[in-house]
């Protein structure tokens, strides 16, 4: 099996700063990490490889050259090969332009690595939180998609995806090739081994520029190719976590609710 995992390098904090003039993220001085949801996508791929050792895992990221560090982290954990899609022409891309560029990169990487059976993404990046790029990529590629994946298993020519639903989980079967976006499962991504870490430190990260993406229409990339116009960015105030009261009987729940409100001196 041939799996592509899309990852993004993000600042290691949800308290990101935004340049008020350009409305873009200020990354200086903030340590960078692999977007945690992308880490879960990589772990899902690694678990498929555990069971099917002939699986190849390729990671791809779009971003500045610093994003190489994130790709090296992925190589250390489970990836076999890494591609960095980087070009000034891609700067300022919104989610539509980004997913379009990524779809063009997928086509290029497939020329080099063979067809991908599945493309895994995190459900969203913790710095942008849009959760749009994965589904948009599936549209550009014309693949079926399953979002909010927790675990996957390979069953013949399809993936069985355990996905998070509003009130529990559900299992969806999806034909290959497909796109799956991942949310936080009950387990953590594995630890890198020192051997993989050392190999990753010395590994070659393949670079793809706009010129390398032979199918790309550059009018659909970068700031100019982005229909989204950011008027204003702000960090919303933190909401207090709610309390769910679910006792054995409605009477018990009502009693508990009364007790809780009473203890809080609300009534």
């Amino acid at each position: 099996m041939n799996i592509l995992v899309c990852v993004k390098q993000v600042p290691d904090t949800t308290e990101i700063k935004i340049d008020p003039k350009t409305n873009t993220l200020i990354r200086d001085g903030v340590p960078s990490i692999v977007n945690p949801f992308d880490g879960y996508a990589l772990e899902a791929a690694a678990r498929i490889k555990d069971k099917n050792p002939d699986t190849k895992i390729v990671v791809m990221s779009m971003g500045p050259s610093q994003a190489e560090a994130a790709l090296r982290d992925c190589l250390a954990i489970a990836a076999d090969k890494a591609y960095l899609v980087s070009d000034r022409a891609f700067g300022g891309s919104d989610t539509l332009a980004t997913s379009y560029i990524l779809s063009s990169a997928v086509k290029k990487i497939e020329e080099l690595e063979g067809k991908f059976d599945a493309v895994f993404c995190g459900k969203q990046a913790i710095d942008g939180d849009t959760a749009q790029v994965g589904p948009e990529l599936a549209e550009h590629l014309g693949y079926p998609q399953v979002t909010y994946g927790l675990e996957v298993s390979l069953e013949d020519d399809s993936l069985h995806v355990l996905r998070e639903a509003e009130d529990g989980t559900e299992i969806i079967g999806v034909k290959l090739p497909c796109v799956v976006t991942f949310t936080k499962p009950s387990f953590d991504p594995r630890f890198p081994t020192i051997k993989r870490k050392m190999a990753a430190r010395r590994a070659k990260i393949e670079q793809l520029s706009a010129a390398d993406l032979t199918t790309i229409d550059l009018t659909r990339a970068g700031l100019k190719g982005s229909p989204t116009k950011v008027k204003k960015s702000f960090v919303p105030p933190r909401k207090e976590a709610g309390v769910v009261i679910k006792e054995a009987t409605p009477e018990d729940s009502a009693h508990k609710l009364f007790q809780t409100l009473n203890d809080a001196h609300v009534i």
């Binding site: 290691d12 982290d73 630890f191 081994t193 020192i194 870490k197 430190r201």
Partner: protein
Amino acid sequence: MANYNSVTPEIIAELEKAAHGHVVTGADVNPDYAKDEMPIYGSRMPDVSIDATSTEEVSAIMKVCYENNIPVTTRGAGTGLAGACVPICGGVVICTTKMNKILSYDLDNFAVTVQPGVLLQTLADDALKHGCMYPPDPGEKLATLGGNVSTNAGGMRAVKYGATRDYVRAMTVVLPTGEIVHFGATVSKTSSGYSMTNLMCGSEGTLGIITEMTLKLIPAPQATISLMAPFEDLAACISTVPKFFKRHFHPQALEFFEKEILVSSEEYLGKQVFPRKIEGTDVGAYLLVTFDGDTQDELDPIVEKAAEMLLEDGALDVFVADTAPKLKDIWAARSSFLDGIEEQTKLLDECDVVVPVNAIAEYVGFVADVKKKFDFSVKYFGHAGDGNLHIYACSNDMDPKEFNKQVDEFMSAIYKKAMELGGQISGEHGIGLGKTKYLAEALGPVNIRLQQGIKKVFDPKLILNPGKVCYRL
């Protein structure tokens, strides 16, 4: 041994004058004040408890107790493991947890002044906000700093940074007489008479009551990497330890443990982090090592060399934790060993011996051999880097009397061996109530006479924390 007076209504009235509104008596006293985390060494409710709020208040309380010959025991969060804060003669308990303010930072001299009730975790987090690290790192993060100083607590970073004692610059102490004294100064060196701060460190509340402390900080390291190395058995795991020092790797922490204790801890936390099998081989023991420095680039070559050495010495693999979540995960499992044991064990006793680093392997082999003679199970883990071992006798089905009898025999044997190998009774938990007999045996009459002499100079009426460390009741 001293004869103490009972706490009368008149004395309670005097205490109420000394600490207005803070005096609690009889059945209203918090039952936690009768014990610490090792109730097997005994417990007793005090007659009076006072949550003190200032040095002056502690002084006023002590004056009343000194004049009336009332025993006084000081306590912090009660996380001790040797029964040191148990008021075995009743009387008054002074609790310092309300004195929990970080008073001031002196960042030019890398020092912070705190009240004794500040929790270790609170200072560690707050110091980081100032770009500093408070290096002592005992496993119990909810202990008070006053308790840490009183037991000279160590912890996992002691390998590189030393124990609590090495970070105490100065302190304010209320003596048993109620006099207020200052020991030490915010200086890097001193050759000015006997070191009273060093006498206070590890004195377990028997000499005076610490009401303010100035602690040393260091610039916070900017990069931290941990390696986790699973081994097939403990012997190979331990034998690699001295090489970390011979090869100048300067680990910040170096811990070993067997799979059994890890499993209890992970069950307690409800999260499995450590691999239990590597390519078909069952893991028997783990070595956990942390390196810290100013930059990642500075650490990378050290980490690679250390990992190569571990693999050469039989590690089944070496895993790297260099991100905040991964570091948190592996150290959370390590920090919860005691919680895991406590949750699964009805009868528990422990020993906290320290032996020279190159004697760990022999010592652990000895313990593994001796334990076969007894009905309880024995679990252990250790700060491999400084030779400090925590050995637990655990039983869920033994008769408590029989357990105590067998444990006494077991402890005597393993303490004796530790001394033969050039070790000490306690590495970081202290003597308290539970280890007085073993300390007396280990030190011998001359040393005990000196220790008792020191105690008498500070506390002529022996009212402060009676029955602990060098004076047995």
